[in-house]
Amino acid sequence: MTQFSVPWKQSPPLEHRGPARGVVALARFVYSAAAPIVSRFPGLILTSAIVFSTLAVWIHWELFSYLETIAASDLNGTAKSIWGQSLTVGEIGAYLQSNSVAAGGVLKYLLWPLQMELFRDIVGLAAIFQLFNLIPVYAIWWERKVAGRIQSRMGPMRVGGWHGWAQSFADGVKLVAKEDLVPAQADGMLFKIAPYLAFVPSLLAFLCFPLGSYWVFRNVDVALIFIIAMVGIEVVGVIVAGWASNNKWSVYGAMREACQMVSYEIPMTTVLLVPIMTAGTLNMVQIGDAQSGGWFTWNAFHNPFTFIAFITYYIASLANCKRAPFDLPESESELVAGFHTEYSGFRWSLFFFAEYAAMFVVSGLAVTLFLGAWHTPLPSTWAFEETSLFKILLNGILFSSPFWFIFKCFIFIYIQLWIRWTLPRIRIDQVLYSCVQVMFPIACVALVGHAVWMVLLDGSMFSTLIRWVLGLIFAAVTFGFLSVAAFGYRNGRRMVGYLAVKQLPGS
């Protein structure tokens, strides 16, 4: 059989030089080693992931409940993060041994570097950086799967074997290996610096972001404003990117971004004052812990105005992290790709990291401020007395844990994806109209109404009644949504491709 040969010269195979060769070889090895295993034993891996997660919950519960005892005996009596606390090996070991944990000795040995503050900082920073890296990677993969399901297709299925789990990693490798183009007419310095101006602030927002009562890198008293500021600063990078590209579509994207962000920060910050007023603090940890009494104590159900504030916040946050239907700065059908038209490779991926991290941050704010943070719907007064390992474990899973926080966040991210793949994009004048003439008055009404409610009705029977009614409405809506989703999931498969899979004559 003759080989079909192209008439033009074939480009030589890709060659990597220097240390890059080692990286590529390592990536190949890891992939070739992991892919068959993951594709063959997805169930086993999932199960072990759950087991290890629960173990991690248990360990965190052990360590941090000990820290709580230290904090209680502290001079100020205020709770502190693990990373700010001086902790000696002896203290950890003594506590572990006093609870007759068999592995105490080994743990003691393993945990000895934790007594050094710098080491704890580095470990915590690495953890945050990993969180920051992994969330976009999985959110992108998940978005593609969700989009596929919504559009009656499968989404990524090839890379890695099981439902294309390694797709984002493959994309990452591709992006890093891509040529890093800087247009000749662009302002080179600004063009190169802009992705970092967008990327670094959204990374920094994670520094003060609590995932649990003790799961916070820096427990700052103004954490909330810090996070909002970081989400707001991200826009500087976007504007500079659009401007420096010297492309008119990019400039349009930058102008739209500036317009949209500056205007939507006003209603967003206004409604954020509502939970701040309820909790009386700007400390995210304290705001979260104030909602520990079951789901009727969550801020969103405090009164009708907080509920309005919650919904207003969610819509404004969509605009703030430029998700559809507010994705005007990068609207692909109008502005080619908006502000990142001229970007490619690694710099482009930095923008994506920033965007997906911002999605997580705004969802996390919604969860922390309105929907009970890291607490489950059950009131934490129902928690078991920690007499046995099993009960401790159960407490960690049922009442308070970072997993609950991340779970709730991902529900909100899911809603963002759902909206994005369902709704058309709105126009710039409609964006500004809805901000100035709809959202901002609603936000003001929510703020003033909440203030009046707090003064007049707080603690009364009527207030409690309203709280229960709102909570039940929310529960009913959630239940209805879940049942509709389950129905659709069961029946969706039969409808999709009903005729497409049929054998047609002649085909």
Partner: protein
């Protein structure tokens, strides 16, 4: 991109619709490589911030001398070239050229072939409108309806493939009939498809047509009044969207369209149960919605075809036997049909030989595109994709 700045001459401009701050005017090149210009259309926009003061379409990037080729090949050989003009509605293009040549030569078409032609041109109208609706959603930022539309279009393409073996450039309808008879159970499969497809139109309406954002984006945007539509020589859904009830299938029934019962949908003012508030006659939403309604009518026509189609006649076949040897008389003819995009006309002049002396096509996209300069004036930048999308141009046919 050329980094040119328009000379600032305020006297030239007509007053913009809404602009709070006057800034520098800018010339922006939209296309020929742009996601929402549906191919290689290039529109030069003169903008003031987000306002578009003027939009000038530039064409010619896909010119392939299709008409000149017609003067060098026999009509039977020219049929495949007509596919390449409006590549989303190949069947209709074949039909237009075949009808023109048949009118010129007086070739008889078998009865069964006539039904097959009508059926396939209507099926292709559905397929073409599905692409138009899907990509229009894409232009508005809604990605999902696009894939739903393409899912149904895939099934249509399967049907076409089963009949003629091709999925895009069919050359199925040819001079004197169709190239091949239908597969055995085509009638059953096709009616099964129609049963599946008809409720899907409601899905599109719920998903896209009546979506509040979609209505806000397209209602009262790019309005072309009925007089202007006639003045610009528009045709097809773009004309009917402006409220002019004119369809060649009703007005000058060709083939066997006079045997079928169907409606001609036109754009209607908003505020009723069917048409949402905020829609005016002649805007983008009306043009879009006329396409949706036309799909319903096409389904009606196809059902009647499937009911009435005569059985295969072994002796007669589905194609006139003289189709390949026909000589064109020394005469000229102009034949128009209703393409999914409007009136597609073929002018054919013969000189007694087997090869035409002149072939000229009147493309609906080309004529519809000329209204862009009129409609795309003093609107927002985001309205330009909305207007272009609602014209539903196919650049292959504009440039030919």
């Amino acid at each position: 991109m050329a980094n040119t700045i328009a000379p600032n001459n305020p006297a030239e401009n007509s007053a913009p619709r809404q602009a709070d701050v006057r800034t520098e005017e800018m010339l922006v090149n939209m296309g020929p490589q742009h996601p929402s210009t549906h191919g290689v259309l290039r529109v030069v926009l003169r903008t003031d911030g987000e306002m578009v003061l003027e939009s000038v379409p530039h064409i010619g990037y896909l010119h392939r001398c299709a008409e000149k080729i017609g003067e060098n090949v026999a009509p039977y050989q020219y049929v495949p070239y007509t596919d390449r003009m409006d590549y989303l509605a190949g069947m209709n293009n074949n039909q237009a050229f075949a009808l023109a040549v048949e009118k010129l030569t007086g070739l008889e078409v078998p009865e069964r072939a006539k039904y097959i032609r009508v059926m396939f041109s209507e099926l292709n109208r559905i397929a073409s409108h599905l692409v138009a609706i899907g990509t229009y959603g894409l232009d508005m930022g809604a990605f999902t309806p696009f894939l739903y539309c393409f899912r149904e279009r895939e099934m249509l393409l399967d049907l076409f493939e089963s009949a003629c073996g091709a999925r895009l450039t069919y050359s199925y309808i040819t001079i004197g009939g169709v190239t091949d008879d239908l597969p055995e159970n085509f009638v059953d499969v096709c009616s099964e498809f129609l049963d599946y497809f008809e409720p899907k139109i409601d899905d599109y309406n719920n998903l896209l047509s009546y979506n509040h954002i979609f209505v806000k984006r397209t209602g009262n945007v790019g309005v072309v009044s009925a007089e202007d539509a006639i003045r610009f020589g528009l045709s097809g859904p773009v004309l009917r969207g402006s409220g002019v009830k004119f369809d060649l299938r009703k007005a000058k029934p060709y083939e066997i369209y006079d045997r079928f019962d169907f409606d001609v949908p036109v754009g209607l003012p908003g505020g009723t149960a069917e048409i949402p508030r905020g829609v005016v006659v002649g805007d983008c939403w009306s043009r879009y919605y006329v396409r949706v309604k036309e799909m319903v009518e096409s389904v009606k026509i196809i059902r009647q075809c499937l009911r009435d189609i005569p059985d295969a006649d072994e002796k007669e076949g589905v194609c006139n036997k003289k189709c390949k040897t026909v000589k064109l008389p020394d005469d000229e003819v102009y034949m128009e049909i209703e393409n999914p995009r409007g009136q597609l006309g073929f002018y054919v002049k013969g000189d007694g030989s087997a090869i035409p002396a002149r072939v000229k096509a009147r493309g609906p996209s080309f004529c519809n595109l000329c209204v862009l300069e009129y409609a795309g004036k003093n609107c927002l930048l985001a309205d330009i994709p909305a207007i272009i999308g609602s014209m539903d141009v196919v650049m292959g046919e504009v440039d030919r």
